[in-house]
Symmetry: C2
């Protein structure tokens, strides 16, 4: 592994010149240029990124923290981020936090030490004091999908409260009143928001909340399966289940089918996210769609804005707010309802 000095010596020029052909080619004569390039080639020289980053005091990597890479939502975000990062010549450090606050903090420290250029935090569980740590180091970050007010940061998110409210309301409109909810892990604020939306919709419709209709899941297929099984054992079986994400909805569908019941006739199911799978399973899942790829894209653009223009000290943080959209498909029993109305 040759270094710049050896190349310089071999080519009979100074290290400064070698450095220049790499960084300021316009300020080097054509002949020298050619000579140096050839020497590099011959010696298989690759500049040392550490040394460069150290000298320049900047890196060309950003960090992406996601809670669970196995949830198809996050690869979409990652794709969005990657698309712009690659275009900017940046690499992505991928961190899977497993919805574990400690692991997330661990990563934070490692990454600050690695001097990443910026952070994209999705569904983060970090608290204000953790974020303060990032701010103190003066490295930009943007949060994706964490819908809280009390934090001063760049954010892009959809309105979870509203999405949950809408889909619950839809269920009510279709005609159900015994509506259950499988929540995600309740230490994620997003899931609290969703529950709040669910409760609000019921309340507005004059339907009283029933604690046995709310069960906590874990955002995974299995959690939905278990949650649904539990709900089916209620004294009064719910007519509809709102799972806080599609993965759990899919698990719930599996549970219900395997109990010999039909969807939506016996129990209706709806989800949240609109992952690809949602439109492919049987019955096709009614759900709330959020433009995830786009969120990744936007988040990354926001981040690079900060990276390039420096941190805006003046507290000019952007909060980009995307509206979720209701996707009505089969699993909510909407059609049956329509049929009833017109018969």
């Amino acid at each position: 592994m040759a270094n710049i000095r050896e190349v310089a010596k071999q080519a009979g020029v100074s290290v400064a010149t070698v450095s220049r052909v790499l960084n300021h080619p316009e300020s080097v004569s054509a002949t020298t240029m050619e000579l140096v390039l050839a020497t590099m080639e011959k010696m298989q020289y690759t500049p040392n990124g550490f040394a460069r980053s150290l000298a320049l005091n900047r890196s060309s990597t950003i960090a992406l923290l996601i809670p669970n890479i196995l949830n198809p939502l996050y690869p979409q975000i990652a794709k969005g981020v990657e698309d712009v990062a690659h275009q900017k010549g940046y690499n992505i450090l991928l961190c899977n936090t497993e919805e574990n606050k400690e692991k997330e903090r661990d990563y934070l420290d490692m990454l600050i030490e690695k001097r990443v250029g910026g952070f994209i935090l999705t569904s983060s569980q970090l608290e204000n004091k953790d974020l303060q740590k990032i701010k103190n180091q003066n490295v930009p970050f943007v949060m994706v999908g964490r819908n809280i007010e009390d934090i001063d940061a760049n954010m892009v998110f959809t309105d979870y409260y509203m999405g949950a409210y809408q889909i619950t309301q839809h269920l009510i409109e279709v005609g159900y009143s015994k509506i259950a909810h499988i929540t995600g892990s309740l230490n994620q604020i997003e899931n609290l928001e969703k529950r709040r939306g669910y409760e609000k919709a019921l309340e507005e419709a004059g339907i009283s909340l029933q604690s046995q209709y709310i069960v906590e899941g874990n955002n995974e297929i299995e959690g939905g399966y278990l949650g649904a099984k539990k709900l089916l054992k209620s004294k009064e079986k719910p007519q509809a289940i709102f799972a806080a994400n599609d993965l759990m909805a899919i698990g719930a569908i599996d549970a219900i089918k395997s109990s010999g019941l039909h969807i939506p006739e016996d129990v209706a199911i709806v989800g949240f996210d609109d992952i690809t799978m949602a439109a492919l399973i049987e019955p096709k899942l009614t759900t709330i769609s959020q433009p995830v790829y786009k969120m990744g894209l936007i988040a990354a653009r926001l981040l690079f804005e900060s990276i390039e223009n420096g941190q805006q000290e003046d507290g000019f943080q952007q909060k980009i707010f995307l509206q979720p959209k209701l996707k009505v498909r089969k699993s909510c029993g909407h059609e049956n309802r329509v049929r009833e109305i017109f018969n």
Copy 2:
């Protein structure tokens, strides 16, 4: 952003001592230790990873190259890799190559420059000369899922040829003879292998190959959809379709359903990979399963072995060979066949 010198001055010790409390705490007196730690805390000192890596000439990141993060197969591999990397205190640089050889090469160069500790290359399209570049820099790498012989490298892969052979044979056993194949992009060796397995099985059964029964897809849902549409237009509609991966099989299922045909009665479908979705769609997909998470795990372990014990110059490369497994579910029409036999 305080540096080690400032901390040293503030604490009234030398930089060496500060460095020691970080790297060799056992060689520092308790009092000094405490003092330094407190000072670091107060000054919010975070060591500079670049400087450290430069001085030590080693990094604590590895690179993971995957062709398409949107294919659920790869997040599983990534999870396996991440699990061991995190345990080793390493971070992962994620690179999505989009099955694009040029992009892959680009990444390779960036990553060598970044002095990553090692590479995990999945379904790589890199050629020998590219890999030679890595070897010249003396950085370890392991290949996942690229089943070729002529390369001297650590590898973990399943036998694509055999998997394709098995599932095609299964189709033949069920009773089909007009069997089509939607391939993946043919510049990936894996897909060539799969096609070879398909052809071999037909040949052995005395079924002559029909060129109109082989169409090239792109490993994505959409490619399967298009491929199936095309196949359905053949003069003689195939009785069964073997899609080179599950995503395409899912696309094909969608295409067939939307043509008003039934699976497997009108056309049987089988896939390859056994992604989670395969067991959840209707009809459940018969496919070939490979232990992807485990492959990621094993690959990472192999890599760290090389990283820790240094490169084995003696050409002692490990090739870990995993057997794929046939998962018979509904989409192949196996049950119908069984019924016929027993009636």
